[in-house]
């Protein structure tokens, strides 16, 4: 059985949302205190994730998604007008 566009999309989504959860709720809140033992420059690491790092990762996550999906779109639908024909196959 061939894997569909929608299934690949869901796999990408789950993977990226896992990162989203870990950098914000994980590093920024749940394990923040433990991470505070480490320092980068004058920042405690947990504090840095909660006020800076998580935001940088958010930006990164969206652009990775844009890149992956643009590739996926090209693979399955050469251009959007073809989409209906491919679906009938």
């Amino acid at each position: 059985m061939k894997i569909t566009y929608w299934q690949i999309n869901l796999i990408i989504l789950s993977f990226l949302l896992l990162i989203w959860f870990v950098v914000s709720f994980g590093f920024g809140i749940i394990w923040s205190e433990e991470l505070d033992q480490f320092k980068i420059g004058g920042f405690k690491l947990g504090f840095w994730f909660s006020q800076q790092g998580s935001i940088y990762f958010f930006v990164l996550i969206i652009f990775i998604y844009v890149l992956l999906m643009n590739k996926l779109d090209k693979k399955f639908y050469k251009n959007s007008k073809d989409s209906q024909e491919i679906d009938k196959e």
Partner: protein, 583 residues
Amino acid sequence: MSLQALTYLFVGISFTIYIGIAIWSRAQSTNDFYIAGKGVSPLANGMATAADWMSAASFISMAGLIAFLGKDGSVYLMGWTGGYVLLALLLAPYLRKFGKYTVPDFIGTRYYSKAARLVAIICLIFISFTYVAGQMRGVGIVFSRFLEVDINTGVIIGMCIVFFYAVLGGMKGITYTQVAQYCVLIFAYLVPAIFISLMITNNPIPQLGFGDKVIGSSTYLLDKLDQVSIDLGFNAYTEYSKSSIDIFFITAALMFGTAGLPHVIVRFFTVPKVSDARKSAGYALVFIALLYTTAPAVATFAKINFINSVQEVEYKQAPNWFKNWEDIGLIAWKDKNNDGIINYSKGNALEGVKPKYLDDKEGDYGERITTNSPDFSNSNEIYIDNDIMVLANPEIAQLPNWVIALVAAGALAAALSTAAGLLLVISASISHDLMKKILMPKITEKQELFFARCAAAAAIIIAGLFGIYPPGFVAQVVAFAFGLAASTIFPALFLGIFYKRLNKEGAIAGMISGLIATSSYITYFKFINPQLNVAENWLFGISPEGIGFLGMIMNFVIALIVSNFYSKPPKEIYQMIDEIRKP
């Protein structure tokens, strides 16, 4: 040039630009008016979204709030940016593919029900008006402090400007004005931040500067601030003081709330293609992150500057800005120990928190007298409104006048751009969803456009009244706006796209239960029994600010259960969902 002349100049120039753009990009059709003819480039849309999103609260209040809350303030930083990941990944591309005008449009069509549409309209109007009220207050503060006109005159001027480009240009006019407004506001935010970062740590990048060493010493700025905070009786600045579960829930409620805010979602209807909607969300977050990563730096600098310039200073020697803001009523000093020296520490300076001034007399040292009795449970003598941190920051750091004038223009840009975006979703939901789709389906496009303009005008007048007679509950209802967006609109959109089997019964039951649970919890603790609003009484230790996330989970559970008792949605709906899942 004097500060006032410079401020008039900067504000005047920026307002002229906004009006010029409005005339250039007039809306001709409902398509133009609601979604700018789907012709906005992803980059421009990203900028417009950023300006739309960053309100007076982000620009004026957030850094002050973080300065006051320390690490607890991270909930706003993570919450108000993390929502964009959800938007870009879970909602924006599909809603763009759906290709209609408004959020209730999607909910009404997907759940094939006028009732669902109506519930969505009610939530949307409530959320948007809550928000608008805050913007108009921001406009009022800036006008009264920097242009020295009456707050009411300031609000009316602001209303006229928004009226002009929102009613005339619709979404098209708003989009291009927002691009200009973004440039003004981000420049105005970064310039003073860079100046202050250089002054305190000699590092030109504020994001790095606040983790750097203080000039001429070997201590890191944050370590110093931790120490100073503890000495004054506060919590350490870089540690949480709220419980983890509460921080978790507030952050989640703000994130899912952000993803469910109609005026943000509708921005992604304006780009030409589905792939553009994704890209545009990415650009939007870059532009937002620029301000949101600077804000915690500004907060740190402002806190340390503020403490350094007022703590244990004689009132007569207090800097000018202190007295200026006292005149506006956002600072008050109560000399508890009658020594003429300002003491700042943890706790409320005054009984009843907010100062009530006595206007015909001055105190022993020339201060404004407050009729509140002092709160003797602590030794703090200063009342300070968080809102002034960003506005007063350039003055506290003694930056040149043109920087202060720039900040005033930036704050106005932030308030006006958000107000315009909100007014547009209100007017679209009334003219399109309520009039055209429910009450009077027979009206022509021209009539609909006319109704849209009338609704926009009416919304502006109501928003202006909120600014002139600010309701006392503005601060309390912000939790409401995000809580409702998270517990009603987000689940309806998300399940609508990702779970085909959800029928109208399930969706409506979910939305209504989310709405009732969230609003009754908030109303109970914020309005009915505010004295009970402490951690011991909260459900699972979740404050009213974070309850929206629990409401959202409830919405999901109830929607899925109820849905199984009723028949599947019709075939067309399955086809429609298949269609929006394709790029």
